[in-house]
């Protein structure tokens, strides 16, 4: 095979039909460009929607659930086991809300393989005092630095800095709804009263907005010690443990282990958000379906144009064959033409796709659910560019392969006779 000669012929063919070649290349450009734009944009949105849930939800949530004992005394007696036992008016057993021996348990969880972090929370019922009015509320005592690292609480703090909470021992990140009702701003003080009647003046270091009014109207965050103080408990009082794993898929297994081993309630993210996974899957399917359609349409465009180019070049094919070029040489000429079109069109497509997705990432997009998101999310994953490049080459190869095989089989005598 004499590549310089073959490529030279391809180049001359493409250059002399610049308009046609450009149209073919533009077909590729359009296909690849829109594929990259769409894939980046749609997976960006998907990531955002997933993030809405994944960012805030622990992979495993461990707490003590108040519920009636499953084993009532009568079921423990053998002589009644054959009968039907009916017990009315079962009440939950009085038990502690705190997780027993929580600190060693957290340490144990942190040491587990596959666990990214385990952090303690203390939930406390409070009232926000505004003059004579008492507003119902819940404060969460958190380790704010860990909470930022694992659950991106910073994304929902619309004013102030979550780090300020760590620096201010009596600080509070107030729910945005509460703050609005009470006309408070950062630096102000807010009085909290505990269920027991104690008063706690706290300094506002930030506002929290989840996008759900019900939550924003009641929920606030304070330091772990503050929450324990509000409840009048010691520093080993922990009501919830949130666990984040490296791989979400391992959550159900670990959750069942924990609940069996420690006699605690452990809810994994899949049980808690079963509908979430279905939604993600469907969105992914739509993304892939649309992308594949775009690429296939682009492929047919290339095939069409190359096919026409080859029909126009029948004479050339006959001459080349008559002067000693083999069928394979002729085939390679047309395949290399197709690949050159694919390379140039594909490269332009990558640029255009990148340009468009960067453009989209500047379009304003404001939502209450994600206070830190100001523009449309775009996922500029390099894998899309790789897929785009590979597809441009594979599609143009096949689009060129069929017509080129036709050219390979052209009988020069038929063409010369036909003149």
């Amino acid at each position: 095979m004499n590549w310089p000669t073959i490529l030279g012929i391809s180049k001359t063919h493409l250059r002399s039909r610049l308009k046609q070649s450009s149209v073919a290349a533009l077909g590729v450009t359009f296909g690849i460009g829109t594929f990259i734009t769409l894939a980046s944009f749609m997976t960006g949105l998907n990531g955002l929607l997933d993030g809405l849930i994944l960012n805030r939800t622990p992979h495993i949530h461990i707490y003590n659930k108040l519920e009636p004992t499953e084993q009532q005394p009568i079921t423990l007696i053998d002589q009644f086991s054959s009968g039907i036992n009916i017990i009315h008016s079962i009440k939950p057993k009085k038990s502690q809300v705190r997780i027993h021996n929580a600190l060693p348990l957290i340490q144990y969880l942190r040491d587990q393989e596959g666990v990214r972090g385990a952090i303690a929370q203390v939930q406390a019922q409070v009232f926000y005092l505004a003059g004579s009015i008492e507003l119902n509320g819940v404060v969460f005592g958190i380790d704010v630095m860990e909470e930022t690292r694992l659950f991106n609480i910073g994304d929902y703090v619309i004013e102030g800095d979550p780090k300020d909470l760590a620096r201010t021992s009596n600080g509070i990140i107030l729910g945005a709804g509460v703050a609005k009702k009470m006309s408070l701003k950062i630096g102000d003080r807010v009085q909290l009263s505990s269920v027991n009647g104690g008063l706690f003046p706290l300094k506002i270091v930030g506002f929290y907005q989840s996008g759900l009014a019900e939550i924003d109207d009641v929920q606030s965050y304070v330091n772990l010690a503050t929450a324990q103080g509000i409840l009048g408990k010691g520093n080993d009082y922990i009501s919830d443990i949130n666990v984040k794993l490296y791989d979400m898929e391992e959550a159900p297994l670990l959750a069942s282990q924990i609940s069996n081993q420690y006699d605690l309630t452990a809810i994994d993210i899949k049980t808690a958000n079963a509908q979430f996974e279905t939604g993600t899957q469907i969105r992914n399917i739509i993304t892939y379906a649309v992308s594949i359609t775009l690429l296939v349409v682009a492929g047919f465009g290339i095939y069409n144009i190359l096919n026409m180019m080859i029909y126009e070049k029948m004479n050339d094919i006959a001459i080349l064959k008559a002067t000693g070029f083999s069928g394979k040489d002729v085939k390679m000429i047309f395949i290399s033409e197709a690949l050159i079109i694919g390379l140039i069109g594909g490269a332009l497509g990558l640029l255009i796709g990148y340009g468009l997705s960067v453009g989209i990432s500047y379009i304003p997009f404001e939502t209450d659910a994600l206070p830190t998101v100001k523009t449309f999310p775009v996922n500029n994953d390099p894998i899309f560019y790789l897929i785009g490049t590979v597809f441009a080459l594979v599609a143009t190869f096949f689009a060129g392969y069929l017509p080129a095989t036709k050219a390979e089989k052209v009988d020069p005598v038929d063409i010369i006779r036909g003149q």
Partner: protein, 234 residues
């Protein structure tokens, strides 16, 4: 083994059938040979099979029966790929219609078969191509696009292209068929000169009796057979 052939190109008992639209025996037991340096013309009425014969001799048409020897080497039964190498190296073509690649310059058209052969460097091929063009007095056309020159010029470029790999034989299918008498005369003289000066064998299919009369030998065909073969001056 067949006896070694005294000819550059020899056909032995070539038969060909067209199957479409109906079975038709086009060529019947064609046997003849061309010696080195001989200028042979094939004449005959339209449809007598002379072009078909030329395509078989040129190795482009492989659907025939019989034996075709180029310098003693059997060509019947070779693959298309092998035949394309033979065509590239040993056979030059000139057609009635000019058959240059229109998007390439004259020089590139002439260089192309040599580039395919790949025996020489591009610079040497270029040198050779310019020499061939000079031989045909059309060196000045070299940088022009093949689609921008006149019919007579195109035919001469086609001859230059046929010469580039120093073939054993040049074949022509009505090479002067659509040229005016002055240009036709010109092309004939060039071919004649190649035959006498360079000892090249030439085989030309033609309608033009005046043209044929000036060649060394005329093969007359009728109804798929060689009807008569007459040496010059007979």
């Amino acid at each position: 083994m067949k006896a070694p052939s005294p000819y550059v190109l020899e056909a032995r008992d070539i038969n060909k059938y067209f199957k479409v639209p109906v079975q038709f025996h086009v060529l019947k037991d064609i046997s003849f040979g061309i010696r080195a340096g001989e200028f042979v013309s094939i004449m005959g009425k339209s449809g007598c099979g002379k072009s078909t014969l030329l395509y078989i001799l040129s190795t482009m048409d492989t659907a025939y029966e019989g034996s075709l020897l180029l310098n003693g080497e059997e060509l019947f039964g070779k693959s298309n790929k092998e035949l394309s190498v033979v065509r590239n190296e040993h056979i030059g073509f000139v057609f009635q219609f000019h058959y240059l690649l229109p998007e390439f310059t004259v020089l590139e058209n002439v260089m192309l078969p040599a580039k395919k052969l790949g025996r020489k460097s591009i610079a040497e091929i270029r040198e050779d191509a310019l020499k061939k063009l000079d031989l045909l007095d059309i060196k000045y056309l070299a940088p022009k696009l093949a689609s921008r020159i006149s019919g007579g010029e195109k035919q001469r470029v086609a001859i230059a292209r046929a010469l580039i790999n120093e073939p054993m034989i040049i074949m022509g299918d009505e090479p002067t068929g659509n040229l005016d008498s002055k240009n036709a005369e010109n092309v004939f003289n060039i071919l004649k000169q190649l035959s006498t000066d360079q000892g090249m064998s030439l085989l030309v299919v033609t309608h033009d009796l005046d043209f044929a009369k000036k060649t060394d030998r005329i093969i007359e065909m009728a109804d798929g057979r060689i009807h008569a073969s007459s040496e010059k001056g007979e």
